[in-house]
């Protein structure tokens, strides 16, 4: 049955956003972050206003609030949101409470980056043991130098029988790293989520036979200074990341970085070291209140980002910032201007 949007009965309805679809206001435009579908929709700021400032009003009251000057447009907006499954009409909006945006996570450390180059002499086995004892679920190993297959296999075997649930590897190309061998290695190690081989020559894995977990790049990742990219590719719109970004830093919260010289930091690109891995325990560093300070630098406090509609789905960077003297300045590698809405 066709709904007549002007019927008095219909106007008694309320428009309700699904709890997982959360509007976020920016300086020039807004988003609806869909935390269930890992996506977002750009919306005009006026629609944000309708959804937030006039929340709790029936559709009739809402149209009245704008003196019936924009009835057609408002009804079209609501129709658009219903069609896209961001919300629905209800006579009982009180039955659909909002999502609690508190971030909960049981792990004292949720992720770690461990860097190596050909001069590194820190002991991966010892690091993994320490991270596992802290139940760290995810680790990224970044090798800026080439590793033969046997060494890569040996590194991954260190994760067996540990509490670490996911491992990502980035390694420079070595002729020994054949796509089929890597694919088999990834399949035999369910913890391996991704192996990214950089600086690969042309022609390697052109047929894509290495499988989804293996990525060959022709470009070179020379050092930790390549990190800190801010791009929509890295946006994550899910409950865990969105809620974390409300109160914590979306990159550094509960992160451990061990740089290529074995220095324990918030991330390998940060300048401040909290001790050498050979002499300092990761646990002690992670409990240091000074170390934890960076965990609390929220997007809502960061210049420019605080006015950006992507602030709760964007991966922050505190190592490369526009003004190194100001720890709350915008990530240097972000080209987005939220005031103009252009990248």
């Amino acid at each position: 049955m066709e709904i007549n949007r002007r019927e008095p009965e219909f106007l008694k309805n309320y428009f309700v956003l699904f709890a997982c679809c959360i509007p976020v206001e920016g300086a020039n435009r807004s988003t609806i972050c869909d935390l269930q579908r890992d996506s977002f929709e750009l919306i005009p700021n006026v629609l944000y206003e309708i959804l937030t400032e006039h929340e709790g009003k029936s559709i009739g009251e809402l149209l009245e609030a704008y003196d019936h000057a924009y009835d057609k447009e408002i009804l079209e907006y609501l129709e658009f949101l219903t069609e896209k499954e961001y919300g629905f009409y209800s006579e009982e909006p009180q039955k659909f409470p909002k999502m609690d945006l508190t971030w909960y996570n049981p792990f004292p450390i949720t992720n770690a980056i461990v860097d190596f180059d050909e001069k590194s002499d820190h002991n991966l086995s010892d690091i993994i043991t320490q991270l596992s004892a802290m139940y760290c679920p995810a680790v990224e190993l970044r090798f800026f130098h080439a590793l033969p297959f046997s060494q890569l296999t040996a590194c991954l075997s260190l994760f067996e029988d540990t509490a670490i649930r996911g491992v990502q590897v980035m390694v420079r190309y070595h002729p020994d790293l054949a796509p089929e061998k890597l694919n088999q290695l990834a399949n035999e190690n369910p913890r391996v989520q991704k192996i990214l081989i950089h600086d690969a020559p042309d022609g390697v894995d052109d047929d894509g036979g290495a499988g989804d977990k293996i990525i060959f790049l022709h470009q070179e990742i020379t050092s930790e200074s390549c990190c800190g990219q801010v791009l929509p590719h890295y946006f994550t719109s899910n409950v865990a990341s969105f809620t974390e970004a409300q109160t914590f830093n979306s990159c550094l919260n509960r992160k451990i970085g061990i740089d290529k010289r074995g220095e324990i930091k918030n991330c390998p690109s940060m300048t401040k070291s909290y001790g050498q891995i050979k002499t300092t325990s990761v646990k002690a560093v992670s409990e240091d209140v000074n170390f934890q300070r960076a965990w609390h630098l929220r997007k809502d406090e960061i210049s420019v980002c605080k006015d950006c509609e992507f602030r709760y789905i964007c991966h922050d960077c505190r190592a490369y910032v526009t003004n190194p003297a100001d720890e709350l300045s915008k990530p240097a590698k972000c080209t987005y201007d939220p005031y103009e809405g252009v990248w």
């Binding site: 499954e85 992720n111 995810a138 970044r142 029988d161 390549c226 791009l231 960077c317």
Partner: protein, 85 residues
Amino acid sequence: MKKEKFLDTIPPRQRKLYSLNLLMAQLKELKQQHAAEESEQDGALSPCRSVPYNTKLFFTYGLYKPISTTLNESIWKSIEENRNS
């Protein structure tokens, strides 16, 4: 007839990666209709996805966000070109 347990289908080395509940779960035969659908796809199971909601969050071992962000725009472009080619 004794039903096969999930435990019996995975190598002993990997068992500790799974919860006890899952290990003890008994495997059921697929219904005829499902089996027919699968054989149409040459037995290949498509990646996890919830069609009505287009949900992609089924990673078993994934962190909910990127750990580091080392790939720049041009690298992403070439990854996408490779995927599409």
